[in-house]
Symmetry: D2
Subunit: 251 residues, 4 copies
Amino acid sequence: MDATGHPIRVTVWGENVHEYQSDIVRAIYPHGMHETIASGFRHTLGDRVQVQTATLQQPEHGLTEDVLAATDVLTWWGHKAHQEVDDAIAARVHDRVLSGMGLLVLHSAHYSKIFRLLMGTTCSLRWREADDRELVWTVSPGHPITHGVPHPFTIPRQEMYGEYFDIPQPDELVFISSYSGGEVFRSGCCYRRGSGKVFYFSPGHETYPVYEQPEIQRVLANAVQWAFNADSSGTPLDSVNSPTGWYERQT
Amino acid sequence: MDATGHPIRVTVWGENVHEYQSDIVRAIYPHGMHETIASGFRHTLGDRVQVQTATLQQPEHGLTEDVLAATDVLTWWGHKAHQEVDDAIAARVHDRVLSGMGLLVLHSAHYSKIFRLLMGTTCSLRWREADDRELVWTVSPGHPITHGVPHPFTIPRQEMYGEYFDIPQPDELVFISSYSGGEVFRSGCCYRRGSGKVFYFSPGHETYPVYEQPEIQRVLANAVQWAFNADSSGTPLDSVNSPTGWYERQT
Amino acid sequence: MDATGHPIRVTVWGENVHEYQSDIVRAIYPHGMHETIASGFRHTLGDRVQVQTATLQQPEHGLTEDVLAATDVLTWWGHKAHQEVDDAIAARVHDRVLSGMGLLVLHSAHYSKIFRLLMGTTCSLRWREADDRELVWTVSPGHPITHGVPHPFTIPRQEMYGEYFDIPQPDELVFISSYSGGEVFRSGCCYRRGSGKVFYFSPGHETYPVYEQPEIQRVLANAVQWAFNADSSGTPLDSVNSPTGWYERQT
Amino acid sequence: MDATGHPIRVTVWGENVHEYQSDIVRAIYPHGMHETIASGFRHTLGDRVQVQTATLQQPEHGLTEDVLAATDVLTWWGHKAHQEVDDAIAARVHDRVLSGMGLLVLHSAHYSKIFRLLMGTTCSLRWREADDRELVWTVSPGHPITHGVPHPFTIPRQEMYGEYFDIPQPDELVFISSYSGGEVFRSGCCYRRGSGKVFYFSPGHETYPVYEQPEIQRVLANAVQWAFNADSSGTPLDSVNSPTGWYERQT
């Protein structure tokens, strides 16, 4: 809920492809990963949020101008079909983030068009699908995203994502993970871009029930509240000609 | 000169359009702004650099694969013709920065394709063409880019660039400027992106002899040395599958 | 108010010396600067805060263990009597910040013991008492401290504080000011230290009614809400021996 | 060697206590840890450095005003005897860092007086003496401290240092380590404080021959070159009264 008592409007975007192609994924996420993520928000935040979903398959991927204008925080999970996201929609989301919408970028969405547009780097990383155990360590204990999160917490089985992760140095680094194989990863990264806030969070492989895990739901719920911007405006900032100096103007 | 005694290879890129369209600009920069900037490097750094120029009008804008592969640090000045820079060339420069080439982004190049690709924001700002006096203040006194730079130094007449400047928070903020009209601007900003370093420096309007000024030449010479990366590689990083954990691999 | 509906407990600390020594200061702040600052919080935040004051002259400077334990956010104004603050009390406040209490450091408190302990630098700056007009520019538009703050806003008469300000680079730089004389200053700076958040805000000279100004009250009210930490603990972190590895422990 | 061809003057400070108390340590470091560290610099950097040592047991701990004035970069290893370092000497080193001397803080010196003075936090951490294998991963590939350093490299046996490490967020995070037990640690951290640069590097326990390892010597040699400041001045910055504005002064 924001300071004026309105619920935060969250849109959970799902690529929604693995769910149709893999029995394993469908068994874990029978209504789609986006529905599980959305349920997590409803369960954890109750009437402090108003949650809807959108998917790749919908017209305009479910992200019309109206939907985005009525979204305070967008979450993005994608993996197999990054290239199927229309450039114009990616640009629209980009503009909306710069004008103040919060964005949570989840797991394999490190390679999404929207995240790469915002970061300006390749967003490449090291990876392994081998049932690694992941430990998530807090390195910013006063940060609101860590509120109520155990230090560390364990994800029993997870895809390994390791360094070097080719991102700009985060404005605030919140979590670092280790894996059974010895790799490390900056798994929780905060950025400000324009008037918007972006949180990348790496746990969340489609073949494990990561989004059912209470610690993960807690992190994402905290992140929604952190990413909410009460001053979100309609459009990204344009350059402004200022023909008279401020001192002159005022005298 | 790098640690092994080789000169740093600098390519000075100029849009080179104002020089043909405006008598005022041509009077100040009779051989083009890029030649003045290049001369500044030669004068200040002598045999520690090897300097060449490239312009928009050349084939591939003078930035072939070979030229970029042989460039340690690229400087970029553009204003009127950002849209005439081929997307493929901008992407090529982007890749080269991520793989370790240094980049100095000058003045109105805040709106260049390459800078916007690297920043992920609009890079918009406040501006006024009104002969403002600019004062450049150092806010990072131990930084190598400030070596030998007076605090503050004055640019007698300059276009005003003011906040809000829509950029990611710099990794290191080096200079802040004030203007006669009372505006302020983050005028010297350092970023790391991929394996490359980027320095944005705002002084440098085409209708003033800013690049003749010794303090400006000092800043740019320092920045070339700072941006040089001895480990610059051939290509930006790609994701790496790492099928076996490091601990397992070593036992 | 925090997420559980309790008001944020704010303690406004005032040095309270100028008020006794100067007719000018007493005329502007007849009940002491701390009372004006406290009133600003009550006026702007209403029942979202519970505000008390404490002053240098009280036993333990009004900052007993009990008072600090019951303080979520402390504000600190001092100037003439930094050296009269007992080292043990400064250390106690330092510990309390590291364990999660928010701290707002105001104007001349840049030279307070507590701020210097937290920063690790000299915190020296450039200054002039000459009725400068200050313009405060926002450089982080999505930051909660800027919510509802005009860009820029003017402080009609203020002591000049200029760069170089010898502080660590802020974790988030929120405001930059310019002055009539042409100087600039990083006037709004956010830091995390331990589990606590620190905000330095430079406006606030004792001979001007700065703390009566609505924009200033808005910034400080926003900063109190930003600095509040729901996870604030009893003591700063101590080193922890961890005799068994996490992986071993769990298998 | 600096840009003018003079060698960088390095002083290696050693607590030099374990070496007298432990046969194990003396067997690994027969001439003291400081001599091994000093040899590493001489071996790796040759005539680009001029290296001397100083120890706790010497008058003024070997860190007289003259020694510090003639030191460009100081390295600090301590563990058992932090409290025996005289406060006045710690303050002197602190002042010298703020005025531009580089400082490398090694391993257990995270708890040294000088590091805590500079950081302003507790600098506490998690630890275990249990022959963990440490993997050191680079997270800032273009950074000069990583030049020529394998990614990752292994330290076969090392004391575990784990998060949460209570430090300010580094200005640049260069290395993250993992341990056999699953812990992670920000093992290479860069800071600017005043005009000086500080690098904390965690490998280096006294019961293992870590400072004989080529990768470690390479990191430390790179760090010395990074921390060198050609503009190092005599004293930390004091506040400056600036009675006349810069604009007025110049008209």
